[in-house]
């Protein structure tokens, strides 16, 4: 069993345009999905949702810019950590992620401890 980081990406515009009803439905889908992973005893860290607008990007030589939404279309919306026997299993879990239905994607990365 290894830990895998799931990174959720989607277009900002899509996330911001949702109506209250859509937002509520999305919340429910996320909770169902995460609860499902937890029920299989595969959830290591629920993770965090990241605030969309208030980010900064730090570059070499102490350069700090607002971002990252100004630079890339898609932005990281959040992340979680699960455990699985292999990339294949982790990917299967990732396929259930609600972000996929709004044109987003999930990056799956094997975690090595620092």
């Amino acid at each position: 069993m290894e830990n895998y980081l799931l990174v959720y990406r989607a277009e900002y515009s899509a996330m911001l345009k949702a109506s209250p009803e859509q937002a509520e439905a999305t919340t429910k889908r996320w909770m169902d999905w995460i609860t499902g992973i937890n029920a299989q005893n595969k959830l290591v860290d629920r993770g965090n949702r990241l605030e969309p607008i208030t980010g900064k990007v730090v570059k070499p030589n102490n350069v700090v810019t607002n971002g990252p939404y100004a630079e890339i279309k898609e932005s990281i919306g959040g992340y979680s950590i699960i455990k699985a026997k292999s990339y294949e299993e982790a990917v299967e879990i990732a396929k259930g992620c609600p972000i996929l239905s709004v044109g987003g994607n999930v990056e799956v990365r094997l975690v090595s401890s620092l």
Binding site: L50, E74, K95, E107
Partner: protein, 120 residues
């Protein structure tokens, strides 16, 4: 106190680093995180290897899996830690110490953690 995610990005993660470079980078990163932890500001964190990743994306309601990290940008995530800070400026100060910034095209994204509102 708020929490901020510091997301480390390497340009072109496919560039292979020598074992010595990797070891140096690991020590620098551990020392950097240790410094934040010594100030009582560390929450959680994880490191990632340089290669190997999968991306799951939906194409025409089919779930497609590609090898490699998220492909549209050349930058790939090298690690992610969560710190405590009173403001994004303070979090940015932590980020400035990240060893990843020794590489020209690299960067550290600083994102505020959203309130726990049941969404996650």
């Amino acid at each position: 106190m708020e929490e901020f995610a510091l997301i480390m990005r390497h340009e072109d993660g496919k560039k292979v680093a020598s074992p010595e470079q990797i070891q140096t980078w690991m020590k620098q990163t551990m020392d950097w995180i240790g410094g934040i932890a010594a100030q009582g500001k560390f929450v959680s964190g994880t490191g990632l290897p340089f290669d190997d990743a999968r991306t799951v994306v939906a194409k025409n309601s089919n779930k497609v899996v590609t090898n490699g990290p998220f492909g549209e940008i050349k930058e790939t995530i090298g690690g992610l830690i969560v710190v405590k800070a009173n403001s994004v400026e303070e979090a940015v100060e932590f980020a400035k110490g990240c060893p990843v910034l020794q590489g020209d095209g690299n960067s550290v994204e600083v994102r505020k953690i959203a309130r726990k509102d049941g969404m996650h």
